[in-house]
């Protein structure tokens, strides 16, 4: 089977399942940004603007919104890379069934990555539209925040997929959420500048992909990042994505080839 066809079959499978649940999912990806931007951006933002005159020279809402898009993609990618993948490895044995056809393990991984990109596109685009309605990011280059946030999510998708390939039950997933995703969400530069963290934590934050993803989305929306600077920041999430891809591939090979 050609490279494309195998990948597309995996994507198609996910799309068929998604067809049954998409209404709830779209509603969540619309209401979440709406609530967050209203409460944090405007409610809390009012306090921030009055006390500190905004953040880094822009109103708090403008500072917060692009960061939240990147964080939303991170969360989506993390969820998609845990329960659904383990279900297909172990509980429903979907992969076992797929591998009995000409579909290969690299097809499975490519398919899941493409699916993850599609899911994040929905989340990021909906978020972007809500942000636009709140009056943030009125330029064409602001649209670049969508691919930038998808890249951020991909930096989590493949490493977590690799982790999932080693799991025998779902106990580790709550830990990933608690000890990786939520700390990054809260401290990774989304809600306040990383420079406000203690020095040691700043170093940790810059070693993770979210902080760089937030710089990219914020730069795109506010239009204050140069192309070479953006390329440099894109390297970190890209490296996580590539390393995760290799690990997911070899671990899934080991797991499924018995």
């Amino acid at each position: 089977m050609s490279l494309m066809a195998g990948t597309l079959h995996v994507v198609e499978h996910n799309a068929l399942v998604f067809r049954r649940i998409w209404r709830g999912s779209i509603a969540v990806s619309f209401f979440t940004p709406l609530f967050f931007l209203a409460a944090m951006g405007i409610g809390l933002g009012g306090l921030v603007n009055r006390n500190s005159g905004g953040v880094n020279g822009v109103p708090y809402l403008d500072f917060l919104a692009p960061g939240l898009i990147a964080a939303a993609c991170m969360q989506t990618a993390a969820i998609e890379a845990t329960y659904p993948i383990l279900a297909k490895i172990m509980w429903d044995k979907t992969y076992e069934a797929a591998l009995a056809t000409p579909v290969t393990i690299p097809d499975l991984i490519r398919g899941e990555v493409v699916w993850s990109i599609l899911r994040m596109s929905i989340v990021a685009t909906t978020f972007w539209i809500v942000m636009f309605l709140f009056g943030v990011g009125h330029s064409l280059s602001a649209l670049l925040a969508i691919p930038a946030s998808i890249l951020t999510g991909l930096a989590f998708a493949t490493p977590i997929m690799a982790f999932t390939a080693t799991r025998r039950n779902d106990a580790g997933f709550a830990a990933i959420n608690r000890f990786v995703i939520i700390p990054l969400y809260l401290l990774g530069g989304t809600f306040f500048p990383i420079a406000k963290l203690p020095l040691a934590l700043q170093a940790v934050a810059w070693a993770t992909p979210l902080s760089h993803g937030v710089v990219l989305t914020r730069g795109a929306v506010l239009g204050n990042i140069s192309a070479p600077e953006a390329a440099l920041h894109a390297l970190v999430p890209l490296a996580y994505f590539a390393a995760g891809l290799l690990m997911a591939r070899s671990l899934l090979m080991k797991r499924l080839a018995k």
Partner: protein, 247 residues
């Protein structure tokens, strides 16, 4: 019923322990991180630091989340799949005991979190008086009781897992808009009145009053509201459970 849950959780204590990590992280991230952008907040005439303002709200929210999770997702699972209750009511334990047992269990679990949280608040100097801290734990218990009763009641109406999403969709705006991160005075008067009758707002108002040391009659209204909500919840849940189990 309470004993059963304790026994079942003995093997899962790490889950309980790590559940404590989250509110503390929120406290550090939001309280101190955002606190660097918002030096002080005026609430009910007093001016307090942002961490001091947010901490009681996070405590109330985590009491709510714990109680709601335990009384909806976990309880639904027991009701629908594990058939724990069908087994339980074959014994001399009655339906009311079963419902009450679930609520008490959720409250005990929430209590453990609250004590830990108050100890950390005290260590960070976010509580006006130690006495306020003790009262705040009791207040968190009351919040847990009210939401657990509400959660059990709602769960008895649930048919499928997708209904759980509705619960999440209701919790999120409550978390964000109940004067958690900014004072209620930000809203126009009509919205203020609406927010003021929601249960999480009453809970946050109660704990914030206790930990910042603004004790007045307003807190009595909070207590009455939450007690009433809890009692009505338990009563309705018992009737519903009886109908569902004894058919």
């Amino acid at each position: 019923m309470v004993e059963r849950n304790v026994m079942a959780y003995r093997h899962n204590w790490i889950v309980i322990l790590s559940g404590f990590f989250e509110p503390v992280l929120y406290l550090l991230g939001i309280g101190f991180g955002l606190g660097s952008l918002v030096p002080a907040v005026t609430t009910g005439g007093h001016t307090v630091s942002y961490a001091m303002f947010v901490a009681p709200a996070l405590m109330a929210t985590s009491a709510m989340n714990g109680a709601v999770y335990e009384s909806t997702a976990n309880f639904f699972y027991k009701l629908k799949y594990a058939k724990t209750f069908e087994a339980v009511i074959q014994t001399p334990i009655g339906v009311e005991d079963a419902a009450m047992g679930e609520v008490i269990w959720a409250v005990i679990r929430g209590c453990l979190y609250s004590i830990g949280f108050v100890v950390i608040m005290e260590a960070l100097g976010l509580i006006a008086s130690p006495w306020g801290g003790v009262m705040a734990v009791l207040a968190a218990l009351l919040i847990g009781f009210a939401f657990a009763a509400l959660g059990v009641t709602i769960t008895t109406f649930m048919r499928q897992w997708q209904d759980q999403e509705i619960v999440q969709l209701a919790l999120q705006p409550m978390f964000l808009f109940s004067a958690t991160f900014f004072p209620i005075t930000v809203y126009p008067p009509i919205l203020q009145a609406f927010v003021a009758v929601t249960p999480l707002y009453r809970g946050i108002h109660l704990i914030r009053g206790l930990t910042t040391g603004q004790i007045d009659q307003g807190l009595l209204i909070d207590v009455l509201y939450l007690v009433l909500l809890g009692l009505v919840g338990v009563a309705v849940a018992s009737v519903r459970l009886r109908r569902r189990l004894l058919k």
